[in-house]
């Protein structure tokens, strides 16, 4: 299997947790969109902070990276940057492929 930038290698023992993890990430995208529409920057910051902690713990560095960007953008109240982050996040979740090793 050819690994691309959206391929993530995850430890085998976490395999059964990953489907739940992705369901929760998809729900997170919806929550982020709602919070942006409502201008809830503190909620956006907290969600970004949470993504940063949980993403790379599981092995999804991109989730942590976007989480950090979201957290910073929310602190600055930068709606455009937040929207871009959410778009990037949603796109990543659509394309990411997991390989268990």
């Amino acid at each position: 299997m050819t690994k691309n930038i959206h391929t993530v290698v995850i430890a085998k023992d976490l395999a059964d947790l990953i489907p739940v993890f992705f369901r929760n990430r998809q729900k997170e995208v919806e929550t982020l969109r709602s919070a942006l529409a409502a201008g809830e920057f503190e909620q956006l910051r907290q969600l970004g902070h949470r993504m940063r902690g949980v993403g790379n713990s599981y092995g999804f560095a991109k989730v942590s990276e976007v989480g950090k960007q979201l957290e910073d953008a929310a602190k600055g109240g930068d709606k455009a940057a937040i929207a871009a982050c959410i778009g990037e996040y949603a796109d990543y979740l659509d394309k990411v492929q997991v390989v268990y090793e």
Binding site: L14, L17, V20, F21, N24, R50, R52, V54, S57, Y58
Partner: protein, 382 residues
């Protein structure tokens, strides 16, 4: 909303080392729990600070992994509360914080956190920290169990040593009150108000003249057994046993508000308990014997007196000397009581059993003291 199915509850792992994972992000909880269970640890989880506090109070874990940023009761609040409670202060707490969040770490240290774990969490770091804390936990438990065993042994030794001199109840109190090291009375000489009771055997000389040595010892043992039982029954402390005399103190080493009453009841008990023994000796050996008692109250010095080779827990002072003199004057079945002490027990003494002996000048004393004579037994003033 996260999916709670992944977070899990109490694991079935057979390990007896229990870790409580506290995080409002249930994916994080599931992740940490999985890693810890893979190490054979028993994991319990809580999704917020309030639940965590409740779980710790009902079933204290051996280690807590605690997220800092939680809505409601924060990780800092949980940490501060648990470290401030004597019953939970020793449970190690690892705060899970963002790596670059130095402010959180400072606040965590102030709240009493034992260690920190960086988010994102690295498996190796988590396992290494938990293993280290588990080793410390095991060592602490081992030391604690050894300390407890040594403490029990030491208290038993104290109890055993002192139960020869004082009632089992007082021996227990001394063992409980004993500090971490050695003799509980060391360096505690003090002047205090006491009631001294001296008792001896009227007719002892005839007893020693008429009987073989072995028989005398057996009879003395019988006599002292009766007297010490009476003393212990009223929580008196036996300070001295010499020849046929016995010195018992009250209000020492522990305060006894009713020391005078206890001494009086002890005197009655001694005379009453010895009566059947005396009757038996009369029958078997033709001896006329009885207990004579002197009692006095006042200030005395209590402490360990002696050399580095031999010392005894001793009571010294006027009430002791006076009680000794009164004992020498007392007839069998008679209790001689100094005036001030008699005033404290007057209500307990039947009117028909007491006589004013008058002001008595005791040997070695310049001033006379009022003395009351009480007939304590059935064979009064024999």
């Amino acid at each position: 909303m996260n999916d709670r199915a992944a977070a899990g509850g109490t694991a079935d792992a057979p390990a007896d080392y229990r870790v409580l994972v506290v995080d409002d992000d249930l994916d994080m909880v599931a992740f940490l729990a999985r890693l810890l269970r893979d190490e054979g640890l028993k994991v319990e989880t809580a999704g917020d600070g309030a639940s965590a506090l409740m779980q710790v109070m009902t079933s204290p874990p051996d280690l807590i992994l605690l997220d800092v940023m939680m809505p409601g009761v924060s990780g800092f609040d949980v940490c501060r509360q648990l470290k401030g409670d004597e019953s939970t202060a020793l449970i190690p707490i690892v705060l899970v914080t963002a790596l670059e969040d130095s402010e959180s770490r400072v606040r965590g240290i102030e709240a009493g956190a034992d260690d920190f774990l960086s988010k994102p969490v690295k498996r190796e770091e988590l396992i290494a920290r938990v293993k280290t804390l588990r080793r410390l936990h095991d060592t602490r438990k081992e030391l604690e169990s050894r300390r407890l065993a040594a403490e029990v042994q030491r208290k038993e030794a104290i109890r055993s040593a002192f139960s020869r001199y004082i009632s089992p109840r007082l021996a227990d109190r001394i063992a409980e009150a004993a500090g971490e090291h050695g003799d509980p009375f060391k360096g505690r000489a003090q002047r205090t108000s006491v009631v001294a009771l001296f008792a001896d055997l009227r007719g002892f000389t005839r007893l020693t003249e008429r009987n073989e040595v072995g028989a005398v010892v057996a009879m003395l043992n019988e006599y002292f057994a009766v007297l010490t039982e009476a003393a212990y029954q009223h929580d008196g402390t036996i300070f001295n046993m010499a020849g046929d005399s016995l010195l018992v103190g009250f209000n020492v080493p522990f305060a006894q508000a009713d020391a005078a009453e206890r001494a009086w009841r002890t005197a009655l008990e001694m005379v009453a308990r010895f009566e059947p023994v005396a009757a038996s000796w009369r029958e078997r050996h033709g001896l006329e014997v009885g207990v004579g008692i002197g009692m006095c109250a006042g200030e005395a010095i209590i402490g360990n007196v002696g050399s580095t080779h031999y010392a005894s827990y001793t009571i010294i002072g006027n009430p002791v000397n006076t009680a000794a003199r009164l004992m020498q004057m007392a007839a069998a079945g008679e209790v001689l009581v100094c005036g001030p002490l008699f005033e404290r027990i007057r209500q307990l003494v039947p009117a028909g059993h007491v006589a004013m002996r008058g002001d008595v000048t005791l040997r070695g004393k310049s001033e006379s003291i009022p003395v009351f004579a009480v007939r304590a037994g059935a064979r009064e003033n024999a």
